[in-house]
């Protein structure tokens, strides 16, 4: 590990990783060249992407040699890039969601769409009552992910790219305790 990579890793651990983990995701340094650091976000990065500019500001402030920060998901392009069109895996996932998941989540005013797929990783976006719902992570990790794994053996992983914080009609909203 280079000194610069070590500095970025330390800055991540100090100021970024805890809040990323708490949002249901994980982050690591995937690449660093020419002052541009690429961070790989796994888990539920949809909760993290809205923080991209803040994460970049924190790392650039902590490590002066860094000029830019990119967030990527495994097997996908940079965060915010257009969803890939088509693809067997994406289409197969879409069929499973539409036949086995969406009829059920409709009971909670929700809908799940495929945002893209690449290298076995499927990206989904939750909408309606699912966006911002306090049980969205339970729905994904206990319901959607194992169902897709059972139906689609080629699936390597499932990524939630939903910006849950901007959901305006979550079926369940959390309460402070």
């Amino acid at each position: 590990m280079t000194d610069l990579t070590a500095e970025v890793t330390a800055a991540l651990a100090r100021s970024v990783v805890p809040s990323v983990i708490a949002r249901g995701a994980a982050v690591r340094v995937a690449d660093l060249r020419d002052g541009i650091v690429t961070l790989e976000v796994t888990g539920s990065p949809g909760a993290v992407f809205p923080l991209a500019s803040r994460i970049e500001a924190l790392i650039r402030a902590a490590v002066p040699g860094i000029t830019a920060v990119r967030l990527v998901t495994p097997g996908a392009g940079p965060a915010g890039s257009p969803p890939e069109a088509g693809g067997d895996l994406a289409e197969a996932a879409r069929r499973v969601l539409d036949t086995e998941v969406n009829p059920a989540v409709a009971a909670h005013r929700g809908h799940v769409t495929v945002a893209g797929a690449a290298d076995g990783w499927i990206r989904i976006r939750l909408e309606g009552g699912c966006q911002g719902c306090s049980l969205a992570e339970v729905t994904i990790r206990q319901g959607i992910e194992p169902l897709l794994r059972a139906r689609l053996p080629a699936m390597a992983g499932l990524i939630d790219v939903t910006d849950h914080e901007t959901g305006t009609d979550p079926f369940f909203s959390p309460e402070k305790r």
Binding site: A13, R14, S15, V16, V17, P18, S19, I21, A22, R23, G24, A25, A26, G43, S44, A47, L51, R54, A57, L58, A61, E100, V101, A104, V105, A107, H108, G132, S134, L135, A136, E137, V138, T139, R141, Q142, G143, I144, E145, P146, L147, A150, E165, G167, T168, D169, P170, F171, F172, S173, P174, E175, K176, R177
Partner: protein
């Protein structure tokens, strides 16, 4: 919660530990526990009063208001598990009931009920000699004169509290007898709106001036393993008691902190708690010329809301990992002795009733040096209520800095850059 030791449940092959996680529908904590379980490689069974059955892994429908029936259903459907964990307050009693039926080590149901009722807490602590404010319990059927008598007995100012609510909901300070009676009437309205029992008594207790703090810990072997102590430097003097600013580590003198931890441990044991997370709130009463930690409240759970995001643990662990490890009887890593980097959270209170239209200035607030996160927790368009009626906060601001004072300054500066629009 706990299955001490490392052996597996009867009838199970050696594999990843299997944990039953009870998740209430309206919690901030689901994602944290699911991520923690994934990082620990646990086999998770979820029980919830809100999750949809999608045919993936077992999600058992439960009703926390009917713990006996739900416990029977869980025992019939979950299969053997190594530990039962409640993700948040509404599932605490059910988790204890399930663990009792399964023969797993856990807090007794009675202890969890004690911790969930502020009048039971006061009585237990009085019997055990735990330092706390003077108090009177006024039954629901008592005439209003009893509130006046109780307030005069504890002295003014006093605090009138609902015994079953949390998050500072249903708590009002009163400075004279008429204000105490008015506070009781108002709190009865809050209880009605929250659909609580009409038979619930009210607590009238002495108002303690002095610094307030919260202690979060894991209880094991009769002792507290402290995970965080938060100072609450801006806790108001009333009439309502919004929790806003929390900064850790505490800047109180070490002997005072040690005494506070001892008091919290004594209070937990007096309630009958034997394990799992504990969140204690205390005030340091220094009216007698020496600091005396006094118990305000204690809950058998982690710190609420998103506040745990402000915490840092060795190896990048999150609080939920420590809770699950503790539940499985696994060793919990030592948190000290070196102080953690100062961090904190500002909980944004609801300033007035209405419909939330916008929270403006978020980019400016997030740009304040030291700010590490800002989350608005209530969707735009939802109706909001301030204390003492409401039980939700608009959002959370997080900060880290070189000193606790810098953390506090960063949080307050960020707060000042936000403009909450409620109509």
């Amino acid at each position: 919660m706990t299955r001490a030791g490392t052996s597996m449940a009867p009838g199970r092959s050696a594999a990843a530990p299997r944990v039953l996680l009870l998740v209430p529908a309206r919690t901030y904590r689901a994602a944290g526990f699911l991520l923690a379980a994934a990082r620990m490689g646990l086999d998770l069974v979820v029980g919830s009063d809100g999750a949809l059955p999608l045919g993936g892994r077992p999600v058992i429908p439960v009703s926390p208001g009917d713990p006996d029936r739900s416990a029977r259903r869980i025992v019939a459907r979950s299969g053997p598990v190594d530990a039962v964990v409640a993700a948040d307050t509404p599932m605490l009693v059910l988790a204890a009931a399930v663990a009792a039926r399964m023969g797993l080590p856990h807090n007794p149901v009675e202890a969890v009920l004690n911790a969930g009722d502020k009048s039971r807490q006061r009585q237990r602590w009085a019997a055990a000699g735990v330092d706390q404010p003077g108090f009177e319990i006024v039954p629901a059927v008592a005439p209003e004169g009893r509130i006046r008598d109780a307030a005069e007995a504890v002295g003014f100012p006093c605090v009138v509290k609902a015994v079953s609510l949390s998050a500072s909901q249903g708590i009002l300070r009163a400075d004279d007898p008429a204000a105490a009676v008015a506070a009781a009437r108002r709190i009865r309205q809050v209880l009605d709106a929250a659909r609580r029992s009409r038979h619930e008594p009210l607590l009238v207790e002495e108002y303690l001036p002095g610094p307030e703090l919260s202690i979060d810990a894991l209880l094991a072997g009769g002792g507290l393993a402290v995970t965080a102590v938060f100072d609450k430097p801006q806790t108001p003097d009333g009439p309502t008691f919004e929790e806003t600013l929390l900064v850790t580590p505490s800047r109180l003198p070490a002997p005072v902190l040690a005494a506070a931890v001892r008091t919290a441990g004594q209070a937990a044991r007096a309630l009958g708690l034997t394990g799992g997370p504990v969140h204690a709130e205390l005030r340091i009463d220094d009216r007698a010329g020496r600091p005396r930690p006094a118990m305000l409240e204690l809950a058998a759970r982690c710190i609420g809301g998103l506040c745990s995001r402000a915490l840092r643990f060795p190896g990048g662990q999150i609080l939920e990992e420590l809770v699950l490890a503790s539940a499985l009887g696994q060793p919990v890593p030592a948190i000290g002795p070196e102080p953690a980097r100062p961090s904190g959270v500002f909980m944004l209170p609801v300033p007035r009733p209405g419909v939330l239209r916008a929270v403006e200035g978020r980019a400016d607030a997030a740009a304040v040096p030291g700010i590490t996160g800002l989350t608005i927790a209530i969707p735009v368009g939802q109706r909001v209520l301030p204390l003492p009626d409401g039980d939700r906060y608009l959002g959370f601001i997080f900060a880290e800095a070189g000193t606790g004072q810098e953390v506090e300054q960063a949080l307050l500066a960020a707060r000042d850059r936000l403009r909450v629009v409620i109509k």
